[in-house]
Symmetry: D2
Subunit: 453 residues, 4 copies
Amino acid sequence: MPFRDECGVFGICHQEEASRQTYLGLYALQHRGQEAAGICSGDPQGLHLHKAQGYVADVFTEAALDALPGDAAIGHTRYSTTGGNVASAAHPFLIHGRFGQVALCHNGNLTNTEVLRSRLIADGHTFTSPSDSEVLLALINRAQADSLEDAVVAALREAEGAYSLLILTEDALIAARDPRGFRPLAMGHMGATHAFSSETCAFDLVGAQYDRDVEPGEMVIVSRKSAEVRSRFPLPKVQAKPCVFEHIYFARPDSLVYGRSVMVARREMGRRLALRHPVEADLVVPVPDSGVSAALGYSEQSGIPFDFGIIRNHYVGRTFIEPKQTIRSFGVKVKLNPVRHLLAGQRVVLVDDSIVRGTTSKKIVQMVREAGAREVHMRIACPPTTHSCFYGIDTPKRQHLIASYMPLEAITAFVEADSLGYLDLADLEGCMGDDGTGFCYACFTGNYPVVPG
Amino acid sequence: MPFRDECGVFGICHQEEASRQTYLGLYALQHRGQEAAGICSGDPQGLHLHKAQGYVADVFTEAALDALPGDAAIGHTRYSTTGGNVASAAHPFLIHGRFGQVALCHNGNLTNTEVLRSRLIADGHTFTSPSDSEVLLALINRAQADSLEDAVVAALREAEGAYSLLILTEDALIAARDPRGFRPLAMGHMGATHAFSSETCAFDLVGAQYDRDVEPGEMVIVSRKSAEVRSRFPLPKVQAKPCVFEHIYFARPDSLVYGRSVMVARREMGRRLALRHPVEADLVVPVPDSGVSAALGYSEQSGIPFDFGIIRNHYVGRTFIEPKQTIRSFGVKVKLNPVRHLLAGQRVVLVDDSIVRGTTSKKIVQMVREAGAREVHMRIACPPTTHSCFYGIDTPKRQHLIASYMPLEAITAFVEADSLGYLDLADLEGCMGDDGTGFCYACFTGNYPVVPG
Amino acid sequence: MPFRDECGVFGICHQEEASRQTYLGLYALQHRGQEAAGICSGDPQGLHLHKAQGYVADVFTEAALDALPGDAAIGHTRYSTTGGNVASAAHPFLIHGRFGQVALCHNGNLTNTEVLRSRLIADGHTFTSPSDSEVLLALINRAQADSLEDAVVAALREAEGAYSLLILTEDALIAARDPRGFRPLAMGHMGATHAFSSETCAFDLVGAQYDRDVEPGEMVIVSRKSAEVRSRFPLPKVQAKPCVFEHIYFARPDSLVYGRSVMVARREMGRRLALRHPVEADLVVPVPDSGVSAALGYSEQSGIPFDFGIIRNHYVGRTFIEPKQTIRSFGVKVKLNPVRHLLAGQRVVLVDDSIVRGTTSKKIVQMVREAGAREVHMRIACPPTTHSCFYGIDTPKRQHLIASYMPLEAITAFVEADSLGYLDLADLEGCMGDDGTGFCYACFTGNYPVVPG
Amino acid sequence: MPFRDECGVFGICHQEEASRQTYLGLYALQHRGQEAAGICSGDPQGLHLHKAQGYVADVFTEAALDALPGDAAIGHTRYSTTGGNVASAAHPFLIHGRFGQVALCHNGNLTNTEVLRSRLIADGHTFTSPSDSEVLLALINRAQADSLEDAVVAALREAEGAYSLLILTEDALIAARDPRGFRPLAMGHMGATHAFSSETCAFDLVGAQYDRDVEPGEMVIVSRKSAEVRSRFPLPKVQAKPCVFEHIYFARPDSLVYGRSVMVARREMGRRLALRHPVEADLVVPVPDSGVSAALGYSEQSGIPFDFGIIRNHYVGRTFIEPKQTIRSFGVKVKLNPVRHLLAGQRVVLVDDSIVRGTTSKKIVQMVREAGAREVHMRIACPPTTHSCFYGIDTPKRQHLIASYMPLEAITAFVEADSLGYLDLADLEGCMGDDGTGFCYACFTGNYPVVPG
């Protein structure tokens, strides 16, 4: 629960209401970022941009969407990671350059941003924000290439790290995914319309059919002028390493990610967790919403009844005025309320997706115990998170990850649980149908597929 | 899902941060009304009011709460039922009259509003809105009584129908509940602080302990000047008839309503539904969020696995811009997304709390079927809704209630389900531990405890 | 400059776009009150109200005006005088009572509000605000009368003090002015449309022609159902005493007030001031904007050149963030800037409309002197303001009026002027063509035409 | 009246409250642009930017100013000339580049923007907006120079046209003015604080003393790290050509522009106009506010009385809802109201600053005539405007300038005046104390000091 993904992207081409459909797509991807949103659309007059801080529903009005005409659009929803001038870091970025107008939005983090940025600055380029997306646009613009498409290829050959990109130009909508495929990017269609999205739940809302993922290292070019759609694999082939955390926490349970059902994967994590860490208990309770599927799996496997022993208040928004005399654990209580009548006197298996700093888990365990639970057995649907992510997830620095500096017993004591069990890495691989090579598990292992910058 | 409750009320006394705690209380009651919110606080200078249309989080800013000083407050969150000038109908209502300043907020509907209002108008009174709360205040002000407290009693003797009231004066905070106890009203405390709330989930957030309900026909008077708390039963004793629909749909599952756990009651409804209407099926799927507990009970009783085959997007707010070329079933799809990979090829038991007009159910069944379900068996956790409510729930007129004019088979065909089963009234009574006399079941039976006006 | 008038009213009948024309009318009357604005319109469905705090341009959107249909409307723009809950005191007030829906808005202050209000409260009436307009509506509603029109007459017979009223009912638009005619109220027409306004500048904007004033003590009833327009004089005849300060300060210079040009009157005040208080000087400088016309008259009469030695910044709005280290005289400087190049070394005649507390005048004199003026001779286009107004002008309490407790020499010293001259009362009468009986001069004389409450 | 200037700039250094003082400065310069505003401040952590569309008072809140810490700041207020994405064109522009962070804001237009921009794009640079300020920043960043200061010099050597620039870096605040000095730029101080402003009225508000203008072709470098202030003249010396229109229309009358009083110049224009185009008349009436000073001069010279025969409503803001049935000349009437009682039967000399398209003048003449004027003699305080401006004033294309295609008689007929007189060019020179070489008169003569791009 305490992680924050940085972005969701959505793009569409050959669609009469391109910006409105992109708005819907971003709506479905809102869980991937709530700080800022933007859409760039294209019509024969050029590209049109609107972006601002806030929820999708607040950033876009009828008037704003009317000012985004055209049959192609890309959009972005963002979780800000850098403090300061958030406004200047909203996506998409739009430049006027050698190839006319080019807009780009981006999920993921480059790992060599600083090297590239310094080189570009030394070469005379300027930037308006710290965003690595501006670096990508600069690389594209300065590439030794005659066409925009080749320039994108040249730029991607220099970029390292994680990116699922959507690029809109006067001629094409281009989707690209880094060779490791760190972040997801799905493609689909409805009639002659082509669509791309971080997750398939956005296709469901706009009525598009999921066809396949943009492959790791693949670039898909949809012509805006014709029906042509081309695929290229211009980058050196490496072992793909898509982020397993999308399945553990980020993605919406109704999405397919990497072609697999998120919900099915999570349920299996719960089942394997029950096999690995069984416990005598009366009730399986998820930390809502992210622990729900795993808790169902745990219950199914263990035979211990499942119930919503904690209720989430979905009205909690961005602004919340706390009482001046702070109530203990207030930050957790305003979102989560334990159901005393279910919990009182019970031995509870509390299932969550992960533990980061440990402080929130501690508050939840306390809350459940204060509601009367006799025992609280915490079960975590992934291995201990010991390393930071450099590929697009806003994890704290390593030293703040409790599992990086505390053994299991100490964490158990810290969160005040009666017992604590994490999913085994081998079990996680099993849930993903993986032989141990097919996903990025760096946050559990420190084996970084690409050296962090 | 398609019902709308009209209000939630919260009040607090002998609390340094009365208005801030009331804000929290309303936050927890937000599900009971999202159109308008208001708080009236009292300090030695008098009463202070702030109310406006919108969500609790939008209506109140730090500045607004700072302008509501004092150690007593009452608040209200509202679902507007009358069209037109919504602004003038937000609660609390504050008057300057015979007894100084008096503020009132109200959950429920009087059934003799028009008679009382006409009489008061004939007597020279004026009103600024169509609200029955203004009628109550007028009755109080014009009562043949020397004290405010006696005036309230006199007014309540004239009022018929449903009311859970909170009244704030310069001297007291008064809570009152109609003799049938149609709408809930709980009381609790923390230290010397007394609190009242439509549901106990608000007590959980502010850290108050639930003590008991304000009884049907009871009036509780908390002195603002002393520690005195008095209880009176000034109205003729009748058989209490609290609204069973609070347990079926309105209340938050983590609340106690009428002293019973809502979640426990709902789970039992699901269990009994499984006994009464078993079916061969592969998956029990709730219509989220209101069908979840009953679906868990159905699954538990039937042994058919439970899963979230439909995912709700909680980011859907008040404003949503639809595409111009309306997509089929769009209104349902923006909130609910079927999980194709769970549903494909399955025989699904779809559990919802109730059916009103039938049109939403039809869209959901279609959606589930389009997602690949082989069979869709609809199970409804209450009896057929055949009659309108006159006690505070915004049901459509009787002729729009599908169960009032269609037999079961026709409804089954209309919603395009393979089978349809409602909870039996006797089973519902059983779930509530009732012998058939202890709750209002009028929306299922037409046996109105108080003659509608 | 430092006075604040409380209101402007505008009404119109038999006009297809009644609420939009009223919006324009209020726009033109914005100088009479900037705290709140409201319009009530009537169509066959009833009366429709929209009012809020803020400027006319902010309170009304296209959508708000579209929600005010009908061919009759009344509107109000207000300067709040009471602190606290400003929102509840915006006009018009709309009630549902004996005569159906009745809306009222009001310029002026009743002097027996407290007596009436106490009596009405004792009789069982309630109020939602401290406004005397609510008292008028209550009197109307409770009058011993069979028709709304007679009820208005009965109410006005009880009301004392100042009122220029507009009342909208389902049947009529009624305009009424108190027997002294303290506050202005003009009537006009365009084709079949009848219009009423505090000042004629609003007629100019909507394209109506000024016909005459509603007379002191007159009631004009415009039928909404027919072309009938009737005039009544139902109140005891007394000597009219219209407020002379409208001509000195409040009214827009392009208005006719009491049938006379405000600008012409002010110029004449300046001329007589020059005759009464001549001085050797180089330049006549007005305090903009209220001193401009009198300064022109002074210049014309004296032959001393006129120029804008002080420039007003018209962009100064409601919110202005002051520097933390307050600059001396900042509050005056942000609005008024002295023109150094005109003032340096000059002997300046500084003309303002009036002096209230003296503090602002002192700052302006200092500012002019710091800009290099060698001498500053202050000339005030009215007599010393020694008494508070009880008829609708927001003057400070008597003890704060500098002229009530300081002789001329002391005021001259206090404001740091080289000389100070006020217009003589006899001269003021002369400017108004008055024999001393035709206007209210109470703020200069203490001779109150109606005993203050 | 119908011209729009594009910008005002203000900068300050060695000032504890730099951003708040800049806010004040922009407030005083609001008349130079009302579409957007921005401030960039610098503290030891770097540069901080806030800019948005809207009035200065709306763009900046306390919170926004608190987020602009530091002892140096530059700010800008803007009149948008390009349609489309106005948001991206607000100033200041802030880049991260070779010289670290550099912010720039700019009054004036480059004439070789397109050439420079194309070259920079060919060289691999990219732009986020069409603004010529971005071109300047790119030139600076790519200059063959080792220091920021030399890079600015190199950039200015390439830029042609009009610019009064303020540049903020981590080390310095730099002010620069193009060699012709087309646009004004004043410098002043208060204690150790240095300030720059388009007009001196901003100095008056912040309490700074005007010292002198930044000279045409001069660059003033204020060190942020020391008390050093240096002046350079790095550009080829040419005949200065400051814009005479600042004195005719743009500047606030209380400002010194090019070291001369705007108000004094305007009054002199009126005097010379009266000498050149005398007429038998009863009243001199300005078109407010821009014609006021000239009208005073005309009156003084001619002996014909001056009065405000037209009153301006200063509450007219950005949004104004017009009636659906458009009233004739409504656009003019909502701002300007003729004073019937002054004008009726009179022979009026109507003084305005300039005529652009002629349509507004025509409406004003009609309005004055409808108000009863017997004769309307129009007098314009500048020569006929026959050519477009390319140096920072938003004039229409030449073919829309009525004086470019109509002789005087035809214009007289078009605006329906009884006579029409323009100020002679030689007289204008005289008013400015010029021998005909010292100002840019291109809009009257077509003699462009710099060839338009």
